[in-house]
Symmetry: C2
Subunit: 130 residues, 2 copies
DNA sequence: CTGCATCCTCTAGCCACTAGAGGATCAAGC
DNA sequence: GCTTGATCCTCTAGTGGCTAGAGGATGCAG
């Protein structure tokens, strides 16, 4: 059972231009074409796109995904790099959370200080200025 | 006491190209120039850049900062919009934190499942694929 | 056969910068 | 006065990960 790009988009929940974009940057192999140049995909494309989509949702960069896919394509290789990439991604996310929590604290103070006067006395403006 | 762009960059901890960029997009007014076309700034520029920098660190978009600066430039206006912008920014940050915490959970599971074999049996790859 | 959906390629835009080319000018030391 | 290195100028292009739109070909249903 083959799929058009539109059907693949629905099956994988990835938009058509994004699929073409992934092909362009080499995450997806170039599919075969019909005589009229339309892309034709098989089930493997659905799996590969699901892989990419899941990894992107976890915040992996395209570069990281390229490595992960490469490993997935070569099952005989050691998988230490996959572990490393996952650990690094976790570290990045944890760092981002800490940073955002700090931000949240500052913003909460900012929001609590909101006033109903004119900009001249506005505490939000004041806090940003000073 | 006037400042060159380099001195302003040091005083405000904003890089030179970024200062020029802020001028280009209208966050900073065009400064006067020397006879040799070099930008000359006063203390007001330091304050304005500090404002921008602080707001950027809090994650405000350039558009939001434009509005905040506009308010700051017109102290007679009501400041409800500043409050609104701050509240919205807080909401955005809180949403982002929730999202990242979910991500962190998934990534922790991924990282705990790391294996020392080959990619064929790698749980990280497997988890991403399935 | 008409009309709409789907597909194609190609280019440009988004955000907030950042990097680099290629050149002019300045300040300090000899 | 001359050299050297820092600083400045403008302009263009690149980053990441898409997204939007132009302009056109094809497919399919009524």
């Amino acid at each position: 059972m083959t799929l058009s790009i539109g059907q693949l988009a629905k099956a994988s929940d990835v938009k058509i231009p994004t699929i073409r974009f992934y092909e362009q940057i080499g995450l997806l192999p170039e599919p075969i074409r019909t005589s009229n140049d339309r892309r034709v995909y098989g089930q493997e494309a659905v799996r590969r796109l699901a892989f990419i989509r899941h990894a992107r949702q976890l915040g992996f960069s395209v570069e990281a995904i390229r490595n992960l896919l490469d490993l997935s394509d070569h099952p005989e290789r050691p998988c230490g790099e996959a572990n490393l990439l996952a650990a690094r991604q976790l570290g990045d996310v944890e760092a981002k959370i800490v940073q955002l929590e700090t931000l949240r604290g500052e913003l909460r103070r900012l929001v609590q200080a909101t006033c109903d006067g004119r900009a001249a006395d506005c505490r939000v403006i004041e806090a940003l200025a000073g």
